[in-house]
Symmetry: C2
Subunit: 229 residues, 2 copies
């Protein structure tokens, strides 16, 4: 057997917990495969026997859940920072979406683990969702969006999540050479669409010709405003 890890002092056992968590995430990133997280592999990398993991996690599921919690935290921080950097509420919301997708693409394996698991950690995801609701609420208060902030935020989150998820899980699709092209298109589509949608009556879906007419009106108005500036 190889060099063993020095035993922790009483009261200091939680250090092993941290080390196990770190090694589990490292293993996940290095192999790119969730299946590579094995109690045995994690234990070996921590230079500890397999059952020792049970001293700090009730089982494999709990270990993975703990890994997810860390990632949710990072994601939440990243979103909060992005929103905080801008004052205009609509632009802040866009930055929120961009930060979200970029985080997912920077940590594809972790993101998959987060979102694709059967029993995802609900508390952490709700906290993360809260940051988006804040960004949306600012837009509602400024008048650019109307309606229930929760529902609005959900609708917009689904879109950016889908963008990140498909980019990660379906790389074979005909994506443009520059990923930012898709991200920008998504963020703009979400912003424009949500705004237009909330200011329209709910009753009926416009036909192609009608929507085209309304949209060109909006486009010309926006172009005119841009020139004036």
């Amino acid at each position: 057997m190889e060099a063993r890890r020095a035993r922790a002092r009483p009261g200091d056992g939680a250090r092993l917990r941290e080390e196990i968590l770190r090694n589990a995430e490292q293993l996940l990133v290095e192999t790119g495969d969730e299946g590579a997280i094995t109690l045995r592999s994690v234990a070996q990398r921590t230079r500890v026997t397999t059952p020792s993991v049970y001293l700090h996690f009730s089982g494999k599921e709990a270990l993975i859940e703990a890994v997810c919690l860390r990632v949710w935290d990072e994601l939440g921080n990243r979103i909060r920072e992005a929103v905080g950097r801008v004052t205009d509420p609509l632009i802040a919301l866009g930055e929120c979406g961009r930060a979200y997708v970029h985080f997912a693409l920077d940590h594809p394996v972790q993101y998959r683990l987060l979102m694709m698991r059967p029993s995802a950690s609900t508390e952490a995801s709700k906290a993360c969702f809260g940051h988006m609701v804040n960004a949306v609420t600012a837009c509602v208060e400024s008048g650019v969006l109307q309606g229930n902030p929760d529902t609005l935020a959900l609708t917009m989150w689904t879109a950016v999540h889908g963008c990140a998820a498909l980019l990660i899980t379906q790389p074979a699709l005909p994506w443009p050479d520059d990923v930012n092209e898709i991200i920008d298109a998504t963020v703009r589509m979400v912003g424009f669409g949500a705004a237009l949608n909330t200011h329209l009556p709910r009753r009926r879906v416009p036909r192609s010709a009608e929507l085209l007419d309304g949209v060109t009106a909006a486009a010309e108005r926006l172009k005119a405003l841009g020139r004036k500036k």
Copy 2:
């Protein structure tokens, strides 16, 4: 040992293949857990010994891949049907999105299996994607959308996929009581947003006040058109 399955006649061995596939998907649906698909459990349900599965599938991965293929096919059919029922290209595109999300919600476990797997079946997903590109192409030809149909379809697919995915994997979020509310919001947001986005110059993101102004112009124009009709 329990009653064994009658041995197939020579040349007729592929029947077992079908039965295995059916049982695997049944197992998946009944338990709601991908992990419940075990070579042993599938074999037992088919009243066959475990290694017999290897006569028709090169391993567990291939079996699951085959299950996915079937689901991709069903999804593709459902989309094609939905698009075919309507003539107006924009409304057809909307129906495409609605059919997509409803299929996902009707087969949540299968949908998760499809989209969340590390190595998703690329050929089948591309075929499915083709149906959406067709619906988008019709919109481009009618002028309501502008740009590359592939990129447009991708942007819009990501949004509806995200809607389906989050509804399935994050049921704890504050969804509205009626799911159709979110689906409608997403479909409308995608349609409006994509249209407005493609008719706008790419250079810069409008600020809240500007977008609000343009959007109200579009809304009033659309309302006026609705009255005239």
